[in-house]
Symmetry: C2
Subunit: 325 residues, 2 copies
């Protein structure tokens, strides 16, 4: 099975690549000639098979056709610029997040004109397709009312994925990821950054800023769960999806207070005392418009699984990211 | 007030143009330099003001910028190829229905870079953004699950309209029209054609083919109501829309049997006996996936009005289209 990962240099892309190479197979079929693409060349991973790494901009003419030269059977499309950047640079957001994806889908369609070609395409969408006013618990048939250009671009790509699948050009699965926590690495300026920061920094003995009230509720899954979603989407039987190719992934709805209580249980007061409350009206206003909880019956029935406690999410971070004690 | 109608040569476009010119004003502001555009040059209407008519393909580079040269204050964008054609010709559907609309929105945005420009844009969307499985009555927060490329293209344009409005580039109102009945003139390529045909042809003394079962239920408004929706969307206060710029228009949910009973009441058995049942599996399958009824609370609260009986819809057709008895 030939595999292409687009957006392989990002955090989830790197973890997905490592999981694929460690497994050596997808759905029982051995992986051959894996290719990793991103806007910057992905690092060459340690692997027993030859891995191609490609630096390319999917929004440039010809880029998608080049990536498809080997006719991969399975394509993970994770590449996107994040919400803050898509909001700050309108043209770049549409070019990368919409046109890039459309070029990929078109190149797949055109690749199938001469000889049959219908790869599985796993696309990462986002809960940013939803925006307030929203019900407290969002069901599987909630309409898309994005309040950012990023969310708009993801919602459009979901529609394209479904139509290209319906027409038989590709076999698509779109997965709306929860906010990923605990993100490894350094603090960033993303509005959602503190959700990871208040766990990650204290576990490393560093102070973390909490800019919102303890009562704020949000929707989470671990990086390990995200990789699990992607691998399941790559192998699942897509027939039960019907024409509804996009799914909200399961996750865990917890408040900041519940996050902190979990940190207390896992790492004690020495950790939680490093959280400093410094209310930020701007961040609080942004976060107030975000979804808080979902009822993900469809994805759960189809076998997607996330964590069921924030303690578990913290322990996964400790296992996967921190040096052994 | 400068007005541009794109898609002015179509049935709704012609009726809208006539209504605009007859009124001579929109929202109390006199109409000046109205311009009518379509892929073929719209007919020069009888009018006391100078009317420009332009044949242009909005999907061609430069077309949108040309149309905006006069910086219209109000733009009606009705241009689209219909569902049957968009399904038969994948590339043409995306080029006309998606790229054409995006070019228009982009030209508006770019027109506002040098000096402030934020026209009202009234966009005709469609209930084809919804596809089965659906609830019996579809509410205002139903997600978009189009089962055609046409419906996909309309759903994408709705998302773009909302994002361009949110960013302040234009002041958009998207209206999802019911199936328009009774359409005057000859049948077009739409699979929905028979819904009008079984009324229009018998009223003209001609036989009509009914390809589906009498129990089929669907959602209707008259051409006169459609023009009313457009004019209301052009004049309404858009502040109450918030970020939700797209609205399902009110309509009337009736079965084919109820359509025929209305025809019987209005025109008697001489008319209904001209309906010939000739089941067509392909049409029946397409229509089976269509919405049957909506709860349009938002649009109703915002002042949009449709007919409340199919008898009324038939009488409007007789008044507006047939020669006086």
């Amino acid at each position: 099975m030939k595999i292409l990962v687009i957006g392989a240099a990002g955090m989830v892309g790197r973890k997905l690549t490592a999981a694929l190479l460690a497994a050596g197979q997808v759905g029982g079929q051995p992986i051959e000639s894996p290719a990793l693409a991103d806007i910057v060349a992905p690092e060459q991973p340690a692997a027993s098979v030859l891995v191609s790494t490609i630096a390319t901009d999917l929004s440039e003419p010809g880029s998608a056709a080049l990536l498809l030269e080997d006719r991969p059977d399975l394509i993970f499309h994770l590449a996107a610029i994040v919400s803050g950047e898509a909001e700050a640079d309108f043209e770049k957001g549409y070019r990368i997040n919409l046109d890039g994806t459309r070029h990929l889908f078109e190149a797949i369609r055109l690749g199938g004109l001469a000889q049959p070609y219908r790869p599985r395409v796993v696309f990462t969408s986002s809960i940013a397709v939803f925006g307030e006013p929203l019900p407290a618990v969002i069901g599987d048939s909630q309409d898309h009312t994005p309040l950012t250009s990023y969310g708009t671009q993801k919602a459009i790509c979901e529609l394209l994925l479904a139509d290209y699948s319906r027409r038989g050009f590709l076999d698509g699965v779109g997965i709306r990821l929860p906010t990923i926590a605990v993100r490894p690495g350094k603090p960033n300026k993303a509005a959602s950054g503190f959700f990871s920061g208040i766990i990650r920094e204290p576990l490393a003995g560093m102070e973390a800023i909490l800019p919102v009230d303890d009562s704020v509720r949000h929707w989470f899954a671990s990086p390990r769960a995200a990789v699990g979603f992607l691998l399941h989407a790559a192998q699942m039987d897509t027939a039960p999806l019907g024409q509804r190719r996009n799914l909200t992934m399961p996750g865990l709805s917890v408040t900041v207070a519940e996050q902190i209580a979990a940190l207390q249980r896992v790492a004690g007061s020495a950790a939680t005392e490093l959280i400093r409350r410094e209310p930020d009206e701007v961040v609080a206003r942004i976060v107030a418009g975000w979804p808080q909880a979902f009822d993900t019956q469809r994805a759960s029935a189809l076998g997607f699984r996330a964590e069921t406690s924030f303690d578990e999410i913290i322990r996964i971070h400790i296992e996967d990211e921190l040096p052994p004690a």
